[in-house]
Point group: C2
Chain length 347, copies 2
């Protein structure tokens, strides 16, 4: 009953803090703090009482307070290239991440970097300023300085795409090797024998995955490659279109394409038609897509779906898992492509 002085402030003014709860329950702030996080040395009844009151008045821990004291930011950062990322990728991956962190205390911050910058810059910034508990990066390279850097500093992260440095870290990847082999097999199955690949940019890890799948399947089915490596999916629509048209006007031209991105596929088809050829008759195209729109573009297109929302969710789960103490090696996942889908009339 010796609750005498020191209640200068508090009561109903701003949002409730531990002090407010302490005052209301007649306990010390330490006890309240502990009761809320189920510490062992708190009596069962006290714990329940505190948690009840906290819930009633809508107590939310002050993020700045926690962060200042503990260093824990409760932030996941998604690092994106503002020029090069595929558009649907961005929204879907954000939604995937959001979905997973929705019922956690985590916030998602988007950390952009531009073409001109060193990709390591935003990572350095995040690490040096301690702005995030975990990081998600994309456009992963076989020898990725960002992954190495974060591994050295011990900050949890996950990569969209794999590395190839002999270092273990969480990742999520789409199986582009399987995509390319499926694509080639399907094209061979409908009689196509001279295939061209519009590959991912050479510096990214999934370039070689795709390429290996492509060439392995080529020899498996006995088809041949028509080189098409002056452009990648990173090139502009106009460039891809022009190069495709050039290629299709040659004597030896492909009768099948494998395309690693939906927007690029539009350009390929445009190039094919620029050259006076027809999709489905003179040439077939298998393309990855992340939203179900390509079949509207040309019904003859063959598609394989890559689910970026799923990727975002997996990546978020991985980072959270690592933060939570799981072994990085156990937080790796690979997503299998669907079979090649030919056009089907909806409904």
């Amino acid at each position: 009953m010796d609750r005498d002085q020191t209640e200068k402030d508090d009561e109903g003014s701003g949002r409730p803090t531990l002090k407010t709860l302490a005052f209301m329950t007649g306990l010390g702030v330490t006890t309240v703090s502990r009761a809320l996080k189920d510490a062992p040395e708190i009596g069962a009844e006290t714990r329940r009482r505190v948690q009840l009151v906290a819930r009633q008045i809508g107590y939310r821990p002050n993020r700045a307070g926690v962060r200042l004291r503990t260093g824990k930011t409760n932030v996941i950062s998604l690092v994106l290239n503002t020029e090069r990322e595929i558009m649907s990728f961005v929204s879907d991956i954000i939604y995937g991440v959001s979905e997973v962190i929705a019922d956690t205390p985590y916030h998602l911050i988007v950390t952009p970097y531009s073409r001109s910058q060193d990709p390591l810059d935003p990572i350095r910034y995040l690490v040096e300023t301690g702005s995030a508990d975990g990081v998600i990066i994309s456009r992963t390279q076989p020898n990725d300085p960002r992954a190495r850097y974060m591994l050295e500093r011990g900050i949890p992260f996950a990569t969209h795409g794999r590395t190839d440095m002999g270092l273990i870290h969480p990742y999520h990847d789409f199986d582009n090797y399987a995509f390319a082999t499926e694509a080639v097999r399907h094209l061979a199955g409908i009689g196509r024998r001279r295939l061209a690949l519009l590959a991912p940019p050479a510096e990214l890890t999934y370039h070689s995955h795709t390429l290996n799948g492509f060439t392995d399947a080529l020899s498996e089915v006995g088809a041949s490659e028509i080189p098409f490596n002056t452009v990648s999916v990173d090139h502009s629509i106009e460039q891809i279109r022009m190069r495709t048209a050039q290629l299709m006007r040659r004597d030896v031209r492909p009768d099948g394409f494998v395309s690693s991105a939906a927007a690029a596929t539009l350009a390929i088809v445009a190039g094919i038609e620029d050259a006076g050829l027809r999709l489905g008759r003179d040439v077939d195209v298998v393309s990855k897509q992340s939203s179900d729109l390509l079949h509207l573009f040309r019904r003859e297109l063959l598609v394989v779906n890559e689910n970026f929302r799923l990727a975002g969710a997996e990546l978020a789960r991985s980072v959270l898992g690592w933060i939570g103490g799981a072994a990085p090696g156990s937080l790796q996942s690979l997503s299998m492509p669907t079979e090649v889908l030919a056009y089907r009339r909806p409904d």
Copy 2:
């Protein structure tokens, strides 16, 4: 010279703080703090000296410290509907915002909400927990509870799209009235007389903007409307396609469409072709698009560009402006549509 005790910690261990700077310069932390923010009562030389040292050792203010002390979060939140937002919208607007906040201390957090939730929920969360200094919302309604709520609480925000409540707040909007009139005029100009509009969802403000532009221009050019209001751009691709096909099989069918979204346009065209009709011959379509891809889809399409990246940048500028003390009424902008663009062969 009475610098005696109390240097228990500091030096080169973690990242530098005001205390580190104070120790290095031989000044008090208060002085250092003020010198860094150009306070008037600091000597010119001291100021320069402190700033020099700070720059040299790469001092960065601790966000948690600032936030705890001042309440300033240095965060802008972008609130998004995870189901309904247009995909390219998300990435472009994020990049636009990023571009503007790049050389400010602000971080961008993405706060998602799903169909099932009250759109006010994420706003309440942000305001109650004081998680952001400013908020950007989209899918703005004529009578928008979110805008009203934030206006009441005095938290700076900007809306993508206008409201119609007689309340003044920053916004950025695309002039959809002008878009619709331009579109109708263009269609009339090429001889189309029976026009249908695929409108935005009725609850959003730009629905009536678009509709008014459409009907005003119809009477101006003496064309008639074929009602097409069983679907909106929010409906699924399949539904729009089906409804379009139904409409095009009627006796009295449109010979021109105005479409408020690119993805929906794909569905409209598919529906037209399902009905055995041909784009450019039987019917023309004017569509908004946010990335330059529709002309690859069908060269006959007529397009008007809406720049979401610009929108993001403007919205960010507006919120920052309001935070910085500018009058909300001075932070409103409207972006004019381009003329209707017919297909031109690239280069």
